[in-house]
Amino acid sequence: MAAEGAGTHGPMYQFEIKKIFDLQLGNYDVSFTNASLMMVIALAVISGFMVFAMRGRSLVPSRIQSVAEMLYEFIANMVRENLGKDGMTYFPWVFSIFIFILVLNLLGMIPGSFTVTSHIIVTFAIAAMVWLVATAIGFIKHGFGYLKLFVPEGVPLLLMPVIVPIELISYFIRPISHSVRLFANMMAGHTMLKVFAGFAVMLPVWGKIAPVGFMVAFTGLEFVVAILQAFIFTVLTCIYLNDAVNMHH
C-alpha cells in the first residue's frame, strides 16, 4: 500500500498506511493496518480508562476518577451550554467524538506511532457523520421548516437572492471545513516536526542546536494543538447540532 518511491526518512513517510495483516470482506479490502491498530488502541485506552477510573464509584473521587469526571463534566457543560438541557440526549455521541479524536491526536504524539487524525478520509468521515446526523435531526424535528435556516430573519427581501445561496454554500461546506481543519492541523504539525528532524540529522554537530531547540518547543505546541483541535472539533459539532435542534442562528 506504500506509495512507491517514498524513502523511509521523508517527512511524509510517517503518514504511510502499512498493512499488518490482510483481511477481505466480500470484495472489499479491509486489511488491519497501522491506522486500524491505533484506532483499536484508542478504543482500548478510552474504554479501559473510563471503566478503570470509575471502578470505585466513590462519592469522594480518587485522582483518576476525578479526571474521568472532569472530562464528563467538561463535555456535559459544553453540550448543556450549546444545546440546552434537552441536548443531553446527544451527550454520549458528542463525548465519544471528543474523546476519540483527543486520544487519537495524543497517541499520535508518541514517537514512531501513527496519527489517525492526520488522514483526511478519517476526519472527513467523522465530520460527514456529524453533518448527516445534524441535518437528519433538523428535518426530523422541524420538517421542511428546517429550510428556514437558510433564510435568516430580518434580512431585506432584496438581499435574499444573495444571502440564501451564501447560507446554502456555507451549510454544505461545513463537513469540508470541519474535517480539513483537524486534518490539516495534525498533518502540518507532524510534517513540520519531521522536516526539522531531517535538518537536525543532516546538519553538522554545531548546526544541530537550532532545529533541535525548535523541535522541543514545537513538540510542546503540538500537544496544545492536539488538545485544542479535539476541543474545536467538538465545539463545532455542538454548534451544528444546535442549529439542527434549536434552529438558533
Binding site: M1, A2, A3, G5, A6, G7, H9, G10, P11, M12, Y13, F15, I17, L23, Y28, D29, V30, F32, T33, A35, S36, M39, V40, A42, L43, I46, S47, M50, V51, M54, R57, S58, L59, Q65, A68, E69, Y72, E73, F91, P92, W93, S96, I99, F100, V116, S118, H119, I120, I121, V122, A125, I126, F183, M187, V195, G198, F199, M202, L203, P204
Partner: protein
C-alpha cells in the same frame, strides 16, 4: 553562517523531493476503505461502550454526589431551624420567668404595703382610743373638780350665811340658792 544556510537549503530540498516523489499518502484511495471500515467498527464500539457502560456510571456518581450534598444541605437547614426554634423557646421561657419574677415582686410589694397600711390603721385606732380615754378622764376630773368647787362654795356660803344670820342654814338650801349661779 553561509555554510549552514546552504546546508539548510539542501536539506529542505531533499525533504521536498521525498514528499514530491511519494505523493501524499493521505490521498491514496486504496487506503480509504480499510480505514473507513476500522473507523466505523471502533467508533461504533466506542459509542456503545461510552453510552451504555462508562458514561452512565460517571453520571450516576456525579448525580449521587449532588444528591448527597443537597441532602446534607437540607439536613443542615433543618438542624438550623431546630436550633432557631430551641433558641426562641429558651428566650420565651426566659421572658416568661422574668415576667413571673416581676409579678411576684410586685405582689410582695403590694402585700407589704397593705400590711403596713393595716398596721398604721391599727396604731391610729389605738391612739384614737387612748386619746378618747384620756379626754374622758380629763372631762371627769374637770367635772369632779367643778363639783368640789360647788361643794366648797356651798359650805363656805353656809358658814358665811350661818355666821351672818346667826342660825344654822341647811346645806341643801344654800345649794338651791347657788344652783343657778353654778349653772351660769
Amino acid at each position: 553562517m553561509f555554510a549552514s544556510i546552504t546546508m539548510l537549503a539542501e536539506a529542505a530540498g531533499e525533504a521536498a523531493q521525498h514528499a514530491a516523489s511519494g505523493g501524499l499518502p493521505q490521498l491514496n484511495p486504496d487506503t480509504f476503505v480499510p480505514q473507513l471500515f476500522w473507523l466505523v467498527l471502533t467508533f461504533v464500539t466506542l459509542l456503545f461502550v461510552m453510552s451504555k457502560i462508562a458514561l452512565p456510571r460517571v453520571g450516576e456518581v456525579i448525580e449521587e454526589r449532588a444528591e448527597r450534598i443537597q441532602r446534607d444541605i437540607d439536613a443542615a437547614g433543618r438542624l438550623k431551624s431546630d436550633t432557631d426554634k430551641a433558641l426562641a423557646d429558651y428566650e420565651k421561657a426566659l421572658a416568661d420567668a422574668r415576667a413571673n419574677a416581676s409579678g411576684i415582686a410586685k405582689q410582695t410589694r403590694e402585700k407589704l404595703a397593705s400590711e403596713t397600711e393595716a398596721e398604721k390603721g391599727r396604731a391610729e385606732a389605738t391612739i384614737t382610743a387612748k386619746l378618747a380615754e384620756a379626754e374622758a378622764r380629763i372631762a371627769a376630773t374637770k367635772t369632779k373638780a367643778l363639783t368640789a368647787v360647788n361643794d366648797i362654795a356651798a359650805e363656805t356660803a353656809q358658814a358665811v350665811v350661818s355666821k351672818l344670820v346667826g342660825q344654822d342654814v341647811s346645806l341643801d338650801d344654800v345649794r338651791k340658792v347657788l344652783q343657778p349661779v353654778a349653772v351660769k
